[in-house]
Symmetry: C3
Subunit: 264 residues, 3 copies
Amino acid sequence: MVATILAKIRSTTPLVHCLTNTVVPQITANVLLAIGAAPAMIDHPEEAGIFAGIASAVLVNVGNGSGEQHEAQRAAAAAAHEAGTPWVLDPVAVGALPVRTQLARDLLAFRPAAIRGNASEILGLAGASAGGRGVDSTDPVEAAVEVARDLAIGHGCVVAVSGEVDVVVSPDRTTRVHGGDALMPLVIGTGCSLGAVVAAALGATRDVARPHDAVVAAHALFAAAGLAAAREAQGPASFEIAWRDALYKLTPDEVVELARVAEQ
Amino acid sequence: MVATILAKIRSTTPLVHCLTNTVVPQITANVLLAIGAAPAMIDHPEEAGIFAGIASAVLVNVGNGSGEQHEAQRAAAAAAHEAGTPWVLDPVAVGALPVRTQLARDLLAFRPAAIRGNASEILGLAGASAGGRGVDSTDPVEAAVEVARDLAIGHGCVVAVSGEVDVVVSPDRTTRVHGGDALMPLVIGTGCSLGAVVAAALGATRDVARPHDAVVAAHALFAAAGLAAAREAQGPASFEIAWRDALYKLTPDEVVELARVAEQ
Amino acid sequence: MVATILAKIRSTTPLVHCLTNTVVPQITANVLLAIGAAPAMIDHPEEAGIFAGIASAVLVNVGNGSGEQHEAQRAAAAAAHEAGTPWVLDPVAVGALPVRTQLARDLLAFRPAAIRGNASEILGLAGASAGGRGVDSTDPVEAAVEVARDLAIGHGCVVAVSGEVDVVVSPDRTTRVHGGDALMPLVIGTGCSLGAVVAAALGATRDVARPHDAVVAAHALFAAAGLAAAREAQGPASFEIAWRDALYKLTPDEVVELARVAEQ
């Protein structure tokens, strides 16, 4: 299923509308291009809703938005919900900071297809923690799995908790994805751009795959590219280059061989 | 003429004031530094007009601006017009989205020296198309050449349509630039930073070259660097690095040898 | 002392709250991760003050801020001052542009631990010059040393003037740091991210080192990484990659061997 989903992204070039934070637009766009998707960043309140309605999928990342972008994010999530377009919520630093915490919780009403964050952010979104240290998780992934399942059940979505091992949780299913490398969290945007790739996978396969499988495929691709890049890296910058190249070069079959995906 | 213009950029270090979208400021600045120009991003409405009046050239890229940046873009275009400073309009996703479409059309009153976009954007600016798929063109370059000429005649400017082959159009002249590589559109900002390089070329050579030749020289440099980078690239990320290095390393004569420039 | 400070950054992972300009957030975050610090960009006026109070250190870079970010910068500097958290002021293009010049001067009331800029910016902040050409210095470093000392005395802080040779000035001490490479200013953000690294060094060592030594250590790290990267670079892009890798790989002792630090 992972290979099918990744091939579908390449054959359909899903248009992913990203409303993301100020640090990562460039790497997010580059990652989407590398995997065969098409990025578009549209943050104006009067344009975001229009575009969300025509995109294949939408990413709303609540890290470091302006007041104007927050308004656009509400419009985009509402428009995606209205159009039946899958959208992904990335609750960056939710729990730790008040404006984005309220925003992220409000956005849940528009029923994201998936939520992706680190353990502290998932706990923070659920109100089960005061959040991590900014974008850093201070909680282990496994500590967030049951809360992730409650979110998945409560909001009818897939919840992915990122960490050394990623855990993808649906109401009735838990999948762990092993791979990546210790250099990966030293490249800014590897987490944020994963949210965009989750959106791409959901948008490309909504007719042929369950959302849970699309979310797993996105994580498997990142895990495999991390393993491939680690062979060549001299440090985080050369890792970033090798990793972005690997996202482009790895065939779906190679991803399946490299990443270890384990159903519970 | 191409070699003369590129040498002039290096010898004069034109200061290029860029008001550009949120995805590409970093690569745009790096590209300008690589070619021998000096970048400055000034988007505050109370500073943009002042700076546009002292810069060598101005780029206004209407992709993903905030309301405040739009105000600054109007001020910068007006100030450039007033000062006789050449400025470039990049109509990102114009035609497809209403706020920027109105903005770009309003800005034409300040008489850009050049307009650079993909075919859908040029058609969208002229009102001849509903625009592409966000930043992606859904129209072939050649389909926009006659509309580009109408824009060039109507607004007294040079219009460049970017694609596999780039076409530079003036009222009385058409030049095609061949080169680049299939990996180039997989690196975000290669189009947007071309607009900045067009501005640099115009700003550096306003006394010694026709604007049409300056626009062609900018495109030839990008085409040549794309060809040079393709020899070393393993994927889009290593392409980006090799391409930015090539922008820095290629001599004007090497650019002339590599890129194929054809007058109609 | 340099080695001790750099080791302390790695062992304590200071959380650096950056309110910086739109061009450099990605490279700033990547640089902080490479040196062993943790970045967080929080620019919302209702969140910035909260976060500045819990961060290890704060960077306020006044380059190209929106009106909303300026408000956040005032809140963050005030909160850092209140909490006794060291914060760094980077007066980008101050002197040349009115809004940021007023902002930077206002922020001095919140007593930055360090100010870092090029010679024109330091002169502009002190009112001794009309500023450089945007982000470019038009004044030599040595021309700003006495004005830097006046600022250091007047505001009880360390002032670093960046250039071919960097000069770090305290009321009673002057240190010059030699190193780097001619390619370094051709990579955007090498100056701006130095401000963030100065903040990291101050935040990590406030109990064990004098601020002057922390500022010197940050400059020595950049100078050493520049020397190391120059051995491998083919141009500014490959320099950037090698330099970011070197920031990660160089041991504190290697930094001390490579960079030349000279007390007056």
